[in-house]
């Protein structure tokens, strides 16, 4: 009780800090220097219609590489953690059978979901969306598969290969930027093309594709890893 009261008081104080942040916040009326640079230069320099994508993949590409690595790490650690548990796998307990609805629905929906995912990451430089979103969409398809067929053998090695290769290529493209263009992760290794076209914005679509594959693979691995813990419960 005392602990909760203390927590409340502390959070009240933190809330005070937040309040003063809130009160002190005045929305910008003009874009600040950085944003203005992006607004002015993205089209010409990067050739990406989606400015956010340009920032994510190119200007702040290192962040994104980190981001991908975060997911990679999470997946790897998840694998580590759960792998240690899996060794003492116990007798499988009988699961309630999966319903007809789910099985059929998944058969219909999964290809569509996959397709949507691919669309989202390939068009990342043109429309809202991108590799992460696309990857997540793909993973949701995998989730559906998992739900529909919990006992189905899962192609771990394939997914792992996809994940690894995507990651390696991403790094290689980044290095190509360092060698061939203006710097690490510079997307202008390939020609910029026409603003708004599918094949434009240099390597951005490729990177987003790789990210999409990688994120999708990673999420899938995570999901399957977590799903396998069910057997313990």
């Amino acid at each position: 009780m005392v602990k909760r009261l203390g927590a409340l008081l502390l959070l009240l104080a933190i809330g005070g800090i937040f309040t003063s942040l809130l009160v002190g916040y005045v929305p910008d009326t003009e874009l600040n220097d950085t944003a203005r640079y992006y607004a002015y230069h993205t089209a010409a320099d990067i050739g990406s219609a989606n400015i956010v994508t340009a920032i994510v993949i190119t200007y702040r590409g290192l962040d994104t590489l980190g981001e991908v690595t975060v997911l990679f790490l999470a997946a790897a650690i998840l694998g580590l953690v759960l792998a240690r548990g899996r060794r003492q796998a116990q007798a499988r307990r009988a699961l309630t059978p999966v319903g007809e609805l789910l099985t059929t629905g998944s058969r219909v929906l999964v290809p569509l979901i996959m397709l949507l995912g691919v669309y989202v990451f390939i068009n990342g430089h043109l429309t809202p969306g991108g590799g992460f979103q696309g990857g997540a969409v793909i993973a949701s398809g995998v989730l559906l598969l998992l739900l529909a067929g919990p006992r189905k053998p899962f192609a771990h090695s394939l997914i792992a290969a996809v994940e690894s290769l995507a990651g390696v290529f991403y790094v290689v493209i980044g290095l190509m930027g360092l060698v061939l263009a203006g710097g690490f992760l510079d997307s202008r290794v390939l020609p910029l093309g026409v603003l708004g076209a599918l094949f434009s914005a240099g390597t951005i679509p490729i990177i987003y594709t790789l990210i999409g594959l990688k994120v999708g693979a990673e999420f899938s691995v995570m999901l399957s890893d977590l799903a396998e813990t069910e057997e313990l419960g």
């Binding site: 980190g66 792992a160 203006g182 690490f184």
Partner: protein, 1045 residues
């Protein structure tokens, strides 16, 4: 020089590639990992070489083909190169160390390790705020993964607690970053710094900055938001803890530093405050720790706190900041990594389990190197850093902070050296150290790195501050050389040592002024004579010679020191060396600890005193002590004098001495008593020579010294009276004798100083002699309790003669040299302005008889015991120096002028009045006269005639045995009940025992108990609950906000 981006790319590419390998081929994956890590280390190594050797300039590395602040950029400068090298090397070695675990875990674990290192490097390299956040998150997540490497099940909960806190932290960090971006329009650190809005004028930026700052600082594990870190330290795999302590901390520190540059000086006080609080609290909490890894964890927190203080003092330290911060950082990182690696070799988790290391001298050496690094002892980088830090802090008058730092450092030294003592002295556990080569190699690399860095810092300090590189000074090099020769038999090393010392004396003979010559003579030639006794030792005597030579080297360097830096360095060296020597005694563990603590405490006072005196100047010649500004001069005097008096064991600060001197080995006791104590006196000589009389609040400090000295003499003697242990008795006697010498110095007149010098020489001779003699007896009889001995005169005549001559000399009875001291003393006090302290000293004089008589009676006279009937004379090599000392004593008694005359003249420089006149054999003062030769002859003639007469009359005397005594017509039963020796001065205790109540011991004991208990109670704060830790963090934020903003 490869772009550091390759470092990032290599790590990522390798991690990703590992997934392609067949999971069963862990060996190959491990090889790839090692190669990658080596590559990652090679990149910054190339840069570092470029910066250091080729004078390259720092480079900005752009990404994405756009310029900052619009794209992320990295920077590679000297600091970054050094830090990334540190991180990657630690990582490489840890990976080596982790071989089995990594192979067992497979490629995922290796990938996580590489990403972690990449993330640490990224934190160091990046100049973009949000990028920093990303790297931090990478580091956090990989940390959570690596914690799982541990075999310890508890690591799991530790990792989860860490995740809880890091969630909170990242929330604050993100909000802070975004609001900072909003306020400044940029994410680039440099741009943000240059566009910095003045503190206070943009509250939202300040607030945002606060959030970022507090979040990053939390990565430094500040008190109290650090419970999670401790749990990790305790439960994680030691190799990971090494990484966590060395690499992660390095990265976080640099991040905070970068942030502080953005925030500007307005935030420095907050950093300082957090740092010092952490430093003190962590050290305090470490005190009651019994678990080695947790202790190291606390120590890590403390060290990082200290470095944070340094960063917070950037406004003062200016250009010197990197030198200091890096000095402390590398010392911490190397030592902590090494210690964690070592902890993996030790089976048990209790501090005492480290005794297992004892069988491996190299590992012991590693351990002590690490401890010395952590406690900032010379010649390691921390020492130079500490010196600089204190110098600047004192120069700018931040004395409270300085005091807090020194107190914390002392506490830290306390638990580290206690641990070292455990390792050397506690019973070794059954299971020995299981050192696989790949686990031992990292430790050795760390040791080597420590020493190399020590050399390097010495060079740096030579370039920047004009100090000598300590490792290049001949005495120290000579001493350290014995480390390499430790495999030789003891007698060879002993010969080498003696030759070296004598040779060094003759080489440098001409460089000393008369006063220093006396000290150099005692330290070098005297030391060589004492070392003769060491021929008695057999075998290799591992560790003895490096320690002894370190002590002697320190003393020689002390005499030769010109500026305060050299002086202080020498002081620490001799302290360290003597500590090792003392620790060698069989039961000396607690005493050695109290010795090193008092010594370090004293050293810190000296350090502060010198720093205060220098007023910020980089170079401060000892002689300049005389020109210290009058406002600070008395304080300087007070600090230095107290520091030196710790070494001379002035009353109140004396409690370390008896145990330390008594428990030391036979040939060590004379070194630490007869010779080492003189270092303190030398310091006082130097101090008084330069500063003279000082007044503080109208009180003349030399007058205070006079009282202290008088009470030291009295109480030292009184306590000696009540000892049952012969060596303790001698040790207390040393306290009393040092009181006399101090008294002479504090008289501040010509003869007083001469008397002090006389005591220096005399005390060296007779205390060395007595300690050797008593040591020899103790060796033969197997006990130091005097009442267990008795009647040994017939069996150990040489030892008896030494003691006899010694006690006559100490008691000041003519015709031996002690009388000269007393005579000069009387003349000196007649010339002095003070009268009352003499009363105490007069009382002290005769008290000396009591213990001296007890010494000789209880050991050599009286009744011989059954079991001692067959003991032999002390070994030749122990008896030989005693006889040399007897000769020296007689020579000095006959011709004190040999040693004193030149000094007497020299002292005219300081006190033109009141010198002595030396005419032939006669010595005349303003008051009286004294002719040592005449006295000797008269006494000898009377004595010899009477003796001859008595012998003649009793030529037919029947020689009887020990029970042929009149016993009220009965007979004695057993020698034990007939030897009157135990509690010999019972009536005296009844009368004056109240004076020797152990007030000082009680006081210091209560103080340490208090600290211990306080630490023990306060550490309950860390209740192990993740939610509590989260609350601690929140509380930390609120408190810092309340106090700081």
């Amino acid at each position: 020089m490869l772009s550091p981006l390759y470092l990032v790319a290599a790590a990522l590419a390798a991690s990703f590639t590992l997934g392609l390998l067949n999971p069963k081929r862990s060996g190959a994956a491990y090889a790839i990992t090692l190669v990658t890590l080596a590559f990652m280390a090679w990149v910054p190594a190339g840069w570092l070489w470029g910066f250091m050797a080729e004078g390259a300039q720092p480079v900005e590395i752009y990404t994405a083909g756009a310029l900052p602040p619009y794209a992320i950029n990295l920077r590679m400068g000297l600091a970054e190169a050094a830090m990334t090298l540190l991180i990657t090397l630690t990582g490489l070695l840890s990976a080596l160390y982790l071989k089995e675990s990594l192979i067992k875990l497979g490629h995922r674990g290796m990938a996580v390790l590489m990403v972690a290192l990449m993330a640490f490097c990224g934190i160091v390299l990046t100049r973009d705020l949000f990028n920093l956040f990303v790297f931090f998150e990478l580091a956090a997540i990989s940390t959570a993964g690596l914690i799982l490497l541990s075999e310890d099940e508890r690591a799991l909960s530790a990792g989860f607690k860490y995740l809880i806190v890091s969630q909170l932290v990242s929330t604050f960090l993100l909000i802070g970053i975004l609001f900072a971006y909003h306020a400044s329009g940029t994410l680039n650190l440099d741009t943000m710094a240059s566009a910095r809005l003045p503190h206070g004028s943009a509250p939202s930026f300040a607030l945002a900055f606060f959030l970022m700052f507090i979040a990053l600082v939390t990565e430094l594990k500040p008190f109290p938001a650090n419970g999670w870190a401790l749990d990790i330290y305790e439960s994680a795999h030691p190799a990971y803890s090494a990484l966590f302590s060395a690499a992660a901390a390095t990265a976080s520190l640099y991040a905070v530093d970068k942030l502080l540059l953005v925030g500007g000086p307005g935030w420095y006080p907050m950093a300082t405050g957090i740092g010092i609080t952490t430093f003190l609290a962590a050290n305090l909490f470490a005190l009651p720790q019994g678990n080695d890894r947790r202790l190291l964890g606390y120590s890590s927190l403390a060290q990082i706190g200290l470095i944070l203080v340094v960063l917070g003092q950037r406004d003062l330290l200016g250009e010197g900041t990197p030198f200091i911060a890096f000095g402390l950082l590398v010392s911490h990182a190397v030592a902590k990594a090494g210690l964690y690696w070592l902890s993996g070799l030790v089976g048990g988790r209790s501090l005492t389990d480290w005794a297992a290391l004892r069988g491996r001298p190299l590992l012991v050496f590693a351990f002590i190197s690490f401890v010395a690094m952590l406690t900032s002892l010379p010649p390691f980088p921390g020492f130079y850093a500490k010196w600089e830090l204190v110098r600047v802090l004192a120069g700018e008058g931040r004395l409270a902070l300085l005091a807090l730092i020194l107190i914390g450092a002392l506490v830290e030294a306390g638990y580290l050296f206690r641990w070292f003592g455990y390792m050397l002295k506690r019973e070794a556990p059954a299971e020995a150290v299981n050192g696989e080569p790949h686990q031992v190699v990292p430790v050795y690399v760390a040791v080597l790195a420590g020493w190399v860095l020590g050399y390097f810092w010495g060079e740096l300090s030579g370039v920047g501050l004009g100090h000598h590189n300590l490792l290049l000074s001949l005495p120290l090099a000579f001493a350290l050389g014995f480390l390499l020769l430790d495999w030789l038999p003891a007698w060879v090393k002993n010969t080498l040592a003696i030759t070296g010392m004598v040779a060094f004396f003759f080489l440098t003979y001409a460089e000393y002024d008369p006063l220093r010559l006396i000290f150099a003579l005692i330290f070098l030639i005297g030391g060589a004579i004492t070392l003769l006794a060491s021929y008695d030792a057999h075998g290799r005597r591992i560790g003895f010679y490096p320690a002894a030579m370190l002590m002697y080297a320190g003393m020689v360097m002390l005499v030769r020191a010109n500026d305060s830096f050299e002086f202080f360095a020498a002081w620490e060296l001799l302290t360290l060396g003597s500590y090792f020597l003392i620790l060698r005694g069989k039961h000396s563990e607690p005493h050695a600890l109290s010795y090193i603590l008092f010594s370090l405490g004293g050293a810190f006072l000296i350090l502060a005193g010198f720093a205060l005196a220098a007023g910020g100047a980089a170079q401060f010649p000892i002689t300049a002590l005389g020109q210290v500004a009058p406002a600070v001069a008395p304080w300087v005097f007070l600090l230095l004098a107290t520091g030196f008096m710790t070494k001379t064991a002035a009353i109140g600060l004396h409690i370390w001495l008896p145990g330390a001197h008594a428990e030391a080995e036979t040939d060590v006791s004379p070194m630490v008593s007869g010779i080492l104590l003189k270092a303190g006196l030398f310091g006082l000589f130097v101090l008084l020579m330069a500063m003279g009389k000082q007044r503080l609040y109208g009180v003349e400090l030399t007058h205070v010294l006079l009282w202290v000295a008088a009470f030291t003499a009295l109480l030292g003697n009184l306590m000696a009276v009540f000892q049952e242990d012969a060596k303790r008795l001698l040790a207390y006697s040393s306290i009393g004798q040092m009181g006399y010498a101090l008294f002479g110095l504090a008289l501040m007149n010509h003869l007083g100083w001469l008397m002090a010098l006389m005591f220096v020489i005399n005390h060296y001779i007779y205390k060395s002699m007595l300690f050797l003699s008593v040591g020899g007896v103790a060796k033969r009889t197997g006990t130091r309790e005097m009442y267990r001995m008795g009647g040994l005169i017939r069996l150990m005549p040489l030892s008896f003669i030494a003691v006899l001559i010694g006690i006559i000399a100490i008691s000041g009875v003519p015709p031996l040299s002690g009388f000269g001291g007393r005579w000069i003393f009387y003349n000196a006090i007649l010339a002095s302005d003070y009268r009352l302290p003499m009363v105490i000293l007069f009382l002290a004089g005769p008290v000396a008889f009591l213990y001296l008589f007890r010494l000789i009676h209880s050991i050599f006279l009286g009744q011989l015991k059954d079991e001692l009937r067959r003991v032999k004379e002390a070994p030749f090599w122990i008896a030989l120096p005693q006889m040399l000392y007897v000769g020296l004593l007689l020579a000095f008694a006959l011709a004190p002028g040999l040693a004193l005359r030149r000094v007497d003249t020299y002292l005219n420089l300081f006190f033109p009045e009141g010198g002595l006149h030396w005419e032939g054999f006669e010595i005349t003062s303003d008051y009286g006269y004294w002719n040592p030769v005449a006295i000797m002859i008269v006494v000898a003639v009377i004595f010899v005639s009477l003796f001859a007469w008595l012998l003649f009359v009793n030529r037919r005397a029947q020689k009887v045995k020990q029970f042929n005594i009149v016993f009220s017509a009965e007979r004695p039963f057993r020698p034990e009940t007939t030897h009157f020796a135990w509690n010999f001065f019972a009536p005296y205790r009844k009368a004056l025992g109240f004076l020797v109540q152990p007030y000082a011991t009680t006081f210091w004991g209560a103080l340490t108990d208090f600290l211990h208990t306080a630490g023990d109670l306060a550490r309950r704060l860390y209740d192990g609950n993740g939610q509590s830790y989260a609350l601690h963090f929140l509380a930390f934020v609120v408190i810092v906000f309340g106090v700081g903003v």
